[in-house]
Amino acid sequence: MLRRALRLGLGRGLLGRGLGTWRGDSTLDWDGKVSDIKKKIQSVLPGGAWNPLYDTSHLPPEHSDVVIVGGGVLGLSVAYWLKRLEKRRGAIQVLVVERDYTYSQASTGLSVGGIRQQFSLPENIQLSLFSVDFLRNINEYLAVVDDPPLDLQFNPSGYLLLASEKGAAIMENNVKVQRQEGAKVCLMSPEQLRNKFPWINTEGVALASYGLEDEGWFDPWCLLQGLRRKVQSMGVLFCHGEVTRFISSSNRMETASGEEVTLKRIHEVHVKMDRSLEYQPVECAIVINAAGAWSGQIAELAGIGKGPPGTLQGTKLPVEPRKRYVYLWHCPQGPGLETPFVIDSSGAYFRREGLGNNYLGSCSPTELSPQEEEPDPGNLEVDHGFFQDKVWPHLAQRVPAFETLKVRSAWAGYYDYNTFDQNGVVGPHPLVVNMYFATGFSGHGLQQAPAVGRAVAEMVLEGSFQTIDLNPFLFSRFYLGEKVQEHNII
């Protein structure tokens, strides 16, 4: 009733005004105003865009239980497992800080995307086996209601490692360890190799090991996006910014033997917003360093390695960026559909890419000549001479068909290279007690990310590794000088 009366009154009012001199004008104006007012109302309502005060929606929250530095596949995996293993839904608030939102320099997207179990350390094999299980059931782990299933594009073609006379004994030992851990790997003699893959020149090959199951390559971008999507649906917050400072307190303590140690605890993380001087201090309980190639810098910010050399305080995180090239070439006479991921004894590697006789591969510089030829990691420019001089000769020697090939494109990416022993650093720092590492995997971080994420989450939530024992990968090994040597680093 009231509404009708109102409408009547409004209508009459309009009509009355319409009878005046500026009729057409006013009705037009009125229409515009109505939509204006509607918009205004919409924006003022709760959840709207309009805010009379300064808009802070782009800033991270002031408090967060866990701050993960680095939103690559490792950081997201830690976030995923933290949220999944939390005891009560929504018990932990997790913030992921990522500097590069397009992931243009992130190692995740630039990697070749291989996964293998052919490592020499049992821990690495276990990590890979867990991860392959994760990838196989990725649509169960990372299922989001209403979103389409992920297409991981996994190529289960296996890895083929070739060993020279010198490396044959090591390879045999490695395969023994791999089989013990449950990987399906077989050894092949040069004769068998020739029969199976006639395109390989077996000269100089004494032994080959070939992964039969669960090895191959996949689309890293798909894993990253799947993790992002899932983690977002679980309530993890993302922030586009850079960690510039840690505010920490320290207290001196004495060990049983009378040594003085300074224990540090991070209380606040300063997150600087992208392309701005604005920053937000985030109060937090735990910081996870998953910054990949740049995790050394993050560790330095937290004061790790600032102390007299030779002591635990003076032990740096030995992770630095190393530039690695990947080349894509076309070779019409190249090996066919059965081509596995081949790793030559010289360190050169390649794999098939798609169906059109395209191949992808490269070589790690240190495999050839140690240290002095390390390319400058300041930019991501590709050195095409490297392919001509260092990669191609090895490839053509191993696969004669590759003598005629045409490089189609190339790119470079960073390894989070652990200069100490080329293995990952997982778990807490002994002195900065609430900083946890998940970094330093020197090129196999992507394939082990699901398992490492779980290990770190267990360490944070339970205080110890539960699924896979990663105690050999703790930070303290750098101080104690205990190298965990992995023979199969590519």
Binding site: Q42, D146, P149, N155, P156, D214, P332, G336, L355
Partner: protein, 257 residues
């Protein structure tokens, strides 16, 4: 037994345009790009109420666990009667058919029932399995991989058979002569590449695989990979029609081989 439902949808898309009226003022908040996305009432509710969201997540998990439940291995049967009986029991339970050596094909009747008389064939190897339309997945395949005398395997229209499953078939390389993968929605050329282990294969059916990007080219490459095998599949010219420039150089290459 009817083929299991392949769909992962939780609800039928009822009342398509409905939520638009309810949303009212909040319409501008929703991104414009989502307009084309199919929105259901439940989806709308799940976006706004935690309870509905949790319920839907629970239902999704339930569906997944149902497939797992169907694919568990019969450890007790295996221990008591050996791998052949366990595999046969598994396949019959799923609604497939089994052929023991020198015997007739055995299938469940229309209601999914089957007689248990095959339990006496403990020492007779299984030589053929027809698991068309069954809900076999990666784990369920464990049962079949124990059959070292298996000569013919049909996995036609299996909704859960994917590339990961194909990568395990190398365990049957010694005996397998016939393999049919026709109509599997999840099998792609990446999985077919692992069939190079099966050098005894005489007949391979890879027709009607929707996930394969270039059916014609893929068939040629598979034929090249398995020279002794008769590969049934799409007409090789099918792929050519899709992209003439792209394909021509690849087919030119396969002729001298």
């Amino acid at each position: 037994m009817a083929a299991p439902k392949a769909s992962l949808y939780l609800v039928a898309p009822i009342w398509k345009g409905g939520p638009r009226g309810i949303r009212g003022l909040s319409r501008t908040v929703a991104p414009e790009g989502n307009q084309r996305k199919r929105r259901t009432v439940l989806q709308f509710l799940a976006d706004r109420f935690y309870d509905v969201q949790a319920l839907r997540e629970y239902l999704l998990r339930k569906q997944v666990s149902k497939v797992h439940q169907k694919n568990r291995s019969f450890t007790y049967v295996k221990e008591q009667y050996g791998p052949y009986i366990a595999a046969a029991y598994f396949v019959l339970k799923q609604g497939g058919a089994v052929k023991f050596q020198g015997q007739e094909w055995m299938r469940p009747n229309g209601r999914g029932r089957f007689s248990l008389e095959f339990f006496k064939f403990q020492a007779v190897p299984v030589e053929a399995v027809d698991a068309s339309g069954c809900a076999i997945n990666y784990q369920g395949l464990d049962n079949l991989l124990a059959l070292k005398e298996l000569q013919s395997l049909s996995l036609q229209r299996c909704p859960h058979v994917d590339d990961w499953c194909l990568s395990r078939l190398y365990q049957l390389a010694g005996s397998l002569q016939e393999l049919s993968l026709a109509g599997c929605p999840q099998v792609s050329e990446r999985g077919l590449a692992c069939l190079h282990h099966l050098q005894n294969l005489r007949r391979l059916d890879i027709s009607d695989l929707p996930a394969v990007s270039n059916p014609g080219l893929t068939q040629i490459l598979v034929e090249e990979m398995l020279p002794n095998c008769n590969v049934l599949g799409a007409d090789w010219a099918q792929g050519l029609k899709l992209g003439p420039e792209e394909q021509s150089q690849d087919t030119a290459r396969s002729i001298p081989a």
